[in-house]
Amino acid sequence: MSSPPPPPLASAVGRSVPRREGAAKVTGAARYTDDLVVRDAWFGKTVRSTVPRGRIRSITLDPAFDWTHVVVVTAADIPGDNVVQLIRDDQPVLAPRGGEIRHKEEPILLLAAADRGTLEEAARHIRIEYEVAEPVYALEQATEVFSTVEIGKGEVVEDVEDLKDVEVVERTFRVGLQEQLYIEPQGAIAIPESDGSIKVIGSLQCPYYVHRALKRALKLTDQQAVVIQAETGGGFGGKEEYPSIVAVHAALLARKAGRPVRLIYDRHEDLAATTKRHPGVITHRTAVKKDGTLLSQDIEIVLDGGAYCTLTPVVLSRAAIHAAGAYSCPNVRIRARAVATNTPPNGAFRGFGAPQSLFAAELMVEHVAERLGMSSVDLRRRWMLRLGDTTATGQVLTESVGSELVLDAALKAAPRVGTSARRHVRRGRGLSLVFHGSGFTGSGEKKLQGTIGFEALADGTFRILTASTEIGQGTKTIFCQLAADALGVGLDKIGLAPQDTSLVPDSGPTVASRTAMIVGRLVQEAAAEVKKRLSREKAPFRVEKSYIQPDSIHWDETTYRGDAYPVYAWACTIADVEVDLTTGAVRVTDLVTAVDCGKALHPVMAEGQIEGGCLQAVGWATIEEIKMKDGGYQNDRLATYLIPTALDAPRIRTILVENPYSQGPFGAKGIGELPMDGPAPAIIAAIHDATGVWLDEVPATPEKVLAACASR
């Protein structure tokens, strides 16, 4: 008698299995960049411009100081191109003597020394003189345009004089700067090898972005530049492109010093000098029939890119594509531009333009509803995109449209509204409905051809080789779940290679809500292929899988028409607020959000992404304010740039709705950024519900709320 077959392994996908690196994180064993011990390493420091615009007239190293124990790097020491490799070659690695300064905190010099004390002393003995020029701060005065996007569908209603039964609502919205505020500041350690290669270990999201930047500035080959991601304490986009600068700076110092250099930012420098969310102004002119039929949307977007281009064109693109909101409208015109100002460059931050444009789109629904005397929820139900509808770019939504699902789920789950016991506190509720494209825009994924490797090892285990990084969102855990299920083995059989460019191929950056959906799918397919091969071949062997765009996706980059994203994820958020009329302070007490994620590969992690993203949006909407002074941020310490504490955070209730996408692994869609889109407009609507005032901007600070209430 043969023994009964072992019971089938419980599927890992869909279960909230323990985080792969969880034990290391709760014991303090996880090693972040500054935790790493590197023998003989010196400390590095960046010397930055104190003026927002001008030219460097002179750089003087005080001869009274002993410079023999300090390494100084200037633009003249850059062996390759003095360019931060990204989209446009406009940002220098270091501003040269005689060169242009375009923003405060612009890097000019680098220093390295054996101890921090010497470093600080050396920095105090440098004098830089500038020929200052008149800076441009106001969007209306900006003359340099980084990029423009125009999207058109049908014909927008311009002249309504002859039209009966038509209302035109016009509003202007303002969105503010926001700092990503990863709790681990930026940092990199560069280690020069005797063969001329340079290894950089850092806190980063995109090893291959850094790799390209190192090759360009230090004139290194693919093999000579090695980038390794250390355990990373948060990114949210703030470590998408900025780490290239830190890495190149560290590498230049290490190369000149002939020894490793640690370039770790302190919080003040990180706040003062690194990229922020693009602020901007968005204007809507919406025409509706008096019965609520949506006729046309005419939208103008202006985003402030700061001094250099960085990723601005892509941010603008996403902002424009989402600008009409989650609604079906026959006539849409979107005109978007991003301009340069003499402020530190703005860059990637979760949502990447969509939170900004969706803020405006969602509040327009509220304003139109108010004008018509209708419920904004009813209006959304009438207007929302459904299966088979066409978006502003002419994309027909052929599957996985969760708009009504999430609206119904959120409404059902929202707690009953109470009234406040305190006389001077008013309660209010607001709702928003948003969508967010998963994956790169248009032909982005096709151009990238992200690639992963997958190995079957001789000992019966397997190894995933990917450049996709774990930054807290659960990459490592879900990749192992996908691989385990595709192979039909236990999770303990799956391992991952380090995110080291000398070991793994380029699966693309860890951004754009693409990691689970696009790269995870590659992991799933590679694992399935390995399983098939194992039936006829013995380990060890390796397969590679590259992204192939489905034939069904068509996008025209020149006309901005077609399938902007492979698929969209959907969210409905209901925010409850209390407004204290004594102080104007807004407290978000409860947030309910229903999210159509396609499939929750790991429910706890999916909720975690949603809860965390929602709170970041709550902060953006209420207390995360950045005031500018002479082209620099006044809020440059953690005592003055404020994010929500546990006492400020609302109770957040998440409802996961599974509405599968056929091309996603197990039907999963990307949701990393979506949670950033819904809360802000819902909060503004809630403030109106509580007080009767409309604040068409974020952050809705107490100062603004109080003034608005007073002028009623």
Binding site: V26, Y182, I183, E611, G613
Partner: protein
């Protein structure tokens, strides 16, 4: 100077004005305690001194003479197994990027050792000095509540 660290007596010869945070990380190679801001705002550097949670970036090592210090490295059980609190953090998804986790665990440890029954609001107040950017705090509070009496 001498003090107790995670149950063991430590003798050090260091400049008394150095931050406890730096002595832990650089001299004692205990890198579990993190620096998030250096100004007592984020709590990533939290440690316990005589059972109370403090920001180690604001404590001079000289002030620790004769005291009992606990860091995240001292939370696991003597046989190396994770404590109930550490397990709860993993089960509930209370750690994402993990950089706030050591400080958060120590602040939470003080809470769960209290004899009274805690509410969610008590936990929020007790953790208000530990900033987290990843989680929205929801699952951290769930994890801590699961460990209270």
């Amino acid at each position: 100077m001498r003090f107790t660290l995670n149950g063991t007596t430590i003798s050090l010869d260091v400049l008394g004005t150095r931050r406890l945070l730096d002595v832990l990380r650089e001299d004692l190679h205990l890198t579990g305690t993190k620096e998030g801001c250096g100004e007592g705002e984020c709590g990533a550097c939290s440690v316990l001194i005589d059972g109370q949670v403090v920001d180690s970036c604001l404590v001079a090592i000289g002030q620790v003479e004769g005291r009992d210090v606990v860091t995240v490295e001292g939370l696991a059980l003597p046989d190396g197994r994770l404590s109930r609190l550490q397990q709860a953090f993993i089960e509930h998804g209370a750690a994402q990027c993990g950089i706030c986790t050591p400080g958060m665990l120590l602040a939470a440890q003080v809470l769960i050792e209290q004899s009274r029954r805690l509410t969610a609001d008590d936990v929020r107040e007790g953790l208000a000095g530990n900033l987290c950017r990843c989680t929205g705090y929801t699952k951290i509070i769930d994890a801590v509540l699961s460990c209270t009496k």
